[in-house]
């Protein structure tokens, strides 16, 4: 399978501090790749630089064979990268329905041409249908997480960036989110780059990368994730 995204020796700085060091990483279509690592190693920084919120100091980000280093986040979104950030970032005073509609902005024609929310979203996350006219900021954390993923999926992305989707969420909803993500990969063949601490979810991934102090120190098939590796890289 061809590579959706390919990152070559990526370096990212916050001011003077060197956060990401020579990262090499790739995700193929239909594949779920997980990034693990303790708090503060730079996982969020990695995803932010892929969507374009952070400037690349050096290195290459190639998406579908095209270098996207210099593109703005909205241009990358329109190319097919969707981002579910760590803080969920629901638009608080917009209704759930409007938040979902925003997800379709990255489709051709944007939300002016796409107003109808596809029913598959309600099959994945039935709870959203009940709360369509409620303000996004009034949802609970778990509901917001589902909304955030649903919003990303409505843009029919080729690559989905998920930053700790299970953080602070109760176990049964974690399972809902997990099965929704694995289902969407099977059905739509999209690639997923997942940052996760929750072991059960990590095990669903095809491959993993382990990070330490801003660099990738181990990688391989998730099935090979041994107890030692896990205890070393997951803060559980």
């Amino acid at each position: 399978m061809s590579k959706l995204i390919e990152i070559k020796s990526l370096n990212i700085f916050y001011g003077e501090s060197h956060i990401l060091r020579d990262i090499d990483l790739s995700v193929k279509a239909g594949e779920m790749v997980c990034v693990i690592g303790r708090n503060g190693v730079g996982k969020t920084t990695l995803l932010k630089s892929l969507i374009g919120l952070l400037k690349t100091k050096s290195g290459e980000i190639n998406f579908l064979g095209e270098n996207i280093n210099r593109q703005m986040p909205h241009q990358r979104a329109r190319k097919g990268i969707a981002y579910v950030p760590q803080g969920r970032e629901i638009i608080p005073y917009l209704t759930v329905e409007e938040n979902l509609m925003l997800g379709m902005e990255s489709l051709p024609g944007g939300l002016s041409k796409n107003k109808k929310i596809d029913d598959f979203i309600y099959e994945l996350f039935p709870i959203l249908k009940e709360f369509l006219s409620r303000k996004g900021g009034d949802l609970s954390g778990g509901q917001q997480q589902q909304l955030s993923i649903a919003r990303a999926l409505l843009g029919e992305p080729k690559l989905l960036l998920l930053d700790e989707p299970t953080e602070g969420i109760q176990p049964n909803i974690i399972l809902d989110i997990e099965s929704a993500v694995t289902k969407i990969i099977l059905e739509k063949g999209i690639g997923v780059l997942l940052v996760e601490q929750h072991l059960h979810f990590v095990r669903q991934a095809d491959r993993y990368y382990a990070m330490q102090r801003g660099g990738i120190v181990a990688s391989g098939d998730s099935s090979e994730l041994s107890k030692e590796v896990i205890s070393k890289f997951l803060s559980v």
């Binding site: 969507i51 374009g52 919120l53 703005m72 986040p73 909205h74 979104a77 329109r78 981002y83 950030p85 970032e89 638009i91 608080p92 005073y93 917009l94 409007e98 509609m101 925003l102 997800g103 902005e105 990255s106 944007g110 939300l111 002016s112 303000k135 900021g137 009034d138 919003r151 843009g155």
Partner: protein, 384 residues
């Protein structure tokens, strides 16, 4: 009692002007955190647009439609102030994001430039300039996508700007030659006369009110409803509200935040233009006319709260009514035999500028007790 009603009615008319202008100011401030000190001058442009439209509609060919010039000028004022606002955003404000003090100073500078502009440049040339700016900006949008994406797009743009300049110069000359009043620069105030159907009084429940003021209230009502519908129903409305609340995330979702900024600034400025039409119906129009309202607008925004429609409405009517009650010294007429010391105080504040001082002081005192304005936002989102 009748006097009080009069005052309330006048106050609502003044408040209407404040409301429309303050809405524009608040939308822009909410989205970009930009305090636009040239907002008053955008109102002034709206007022001058009404004047120019009026003179153009006096020409023989347009004479039959003269009665409707006010309606037309509402749209034109929206466009004129909107175009100037967009240029302002694209050339200056965008460069100064994240530095509020510089933005404040720069927009103040722009307000001075605009005031001097209407003094020293004939209105016909001003109109020509606006026409060419409008054509130059809008024409490239209609090019087919194939041209827009080609590398030669620059040249097409250049060509359309040249065309726009030509049309602008021609229309300036045309206006100068047809209407000699517009061909000369003048810093004197001008007067807009309402068409016949808007002059005179109207009787409501036994009281008479000037029709122009009623018209102002109607214009306000329509603009407020239109802007609410736009913000709530249209795709751009959703984008604007979303970017106001979370700019970064909207960027990640595929919204071009630059475009949203331009459109919002255009609409905010356009609303100032519409308010300007109302201003021209209230009194004479001069280069400084915007300055009379800008302080009121800021007070409305502070008192009502940004993004709080109900608060903005109450604040503008409240300030409008207070201005009329205090500034026109009407309290004395309403209550003739008040104690001497009190009546002296009221007399002291009974000028437009002193009334402003008084209202300003009252608002400062009010905010001491209710720092978040008239109607603070409630709910889960505010607590977090």
């Amino acid at each position: 009692m009748e006097l009080l009603l009069d005052s309330i009615f006048n106050g609502i008319a003044i408040g209407s002007v404040l409301l429309v202008a303050a809405l524009g100011l608040a939308i822009v401030f909410g989205l970009m955190g930009v305090i636009n000190l040239a907002h008053g001058e955008l109102m002034m442009l709206g007022a001058y647009t009404t004047y120019v439209t009026q003179l153009i509609f006096k020409l023989p060919i347009l004479k039959p439609f003269y009665n409707w010039y006010v309606i037309i000028s509402i749209f034109l004022a929206f466009i004129v102030s909107g175009v100037v606002g967009i240029i302002l955003e694209k050339t200056i404000i965008r460069k100064l994001y994240g530095s509020p003090l510089e933005t404040l100073l720069a927009t103040w500078g722009v307000s001075l430039i605009l005031q001097q502009f209407v003094r020293s440049v004939p209105l016909s040339y001003g109109s020509g300039l606006i026409i060419s700016l409008l054509i130059g900006m809008v024409l490239p949008l209609f090019f087919p996508t194939k041209i827009k994406e080609s590398i030669k797009f620059k040249y097409y743009k250049l060509a359309s700007w040249s065309f726009a300049t030509l049309i602008g110069i021609l229309s300036a000359e045309l206006i100068s030659s047809l209407i000699s009043k517009l061909g000369r620069a003048s810093s004197r105030n001008v007067d807009v006369t309402a068409p016949a159907w808007m002059r005179g009084q109207i009787e409501i429940l036994g009281n008479t009110f000037p029709k122009t003021r009623l018209m102002i209230i109607i214009i306000t009502l329509i603009s407020v409803i239109a802007i609410i519908c736009f913000l709530n129903q249209s795709a751009w409305g959703i984008r604007i509200r979303a970017v106001t609340q979370n700019r970064q995330m909207c960027d990640c979702l595929g919204i071009s935040t630059e475009k949203v900024d331009v459109i919002t600034f255009g609409i905010g400025s356009g609303l100032a233009g519409v308010a300007g039409v109302a201003v021209s119906l209230l009194g004479s129009v001069g280069p400084n006319v915007g300055g009379n309202y800008i302080v009121g607008c800021f007070m409305v925004v502070v008192l009502g709260g940004v993004g709080n429609l109900l608060g903005t409405i109450f604040a503008s009517f409240g300030i409008g009514i207070m201005t009329d009650l205090i500034g026109a010294g009407r309290l004395l007429n309403i209550w003739p035999n008040m104690p001497l010391s009190l009546s002296n105080t009221i007399n002291f504040f009974a000028t437009t500028s002193m009334a402003r001082v008084m209202i300003f002081a009252l608002i400062v005192i009010f905010l001491q007790f209710k720092p978040s304005g008239l109607f603070p936002q409630k709910g889960r989102m505010v607590e977090s």
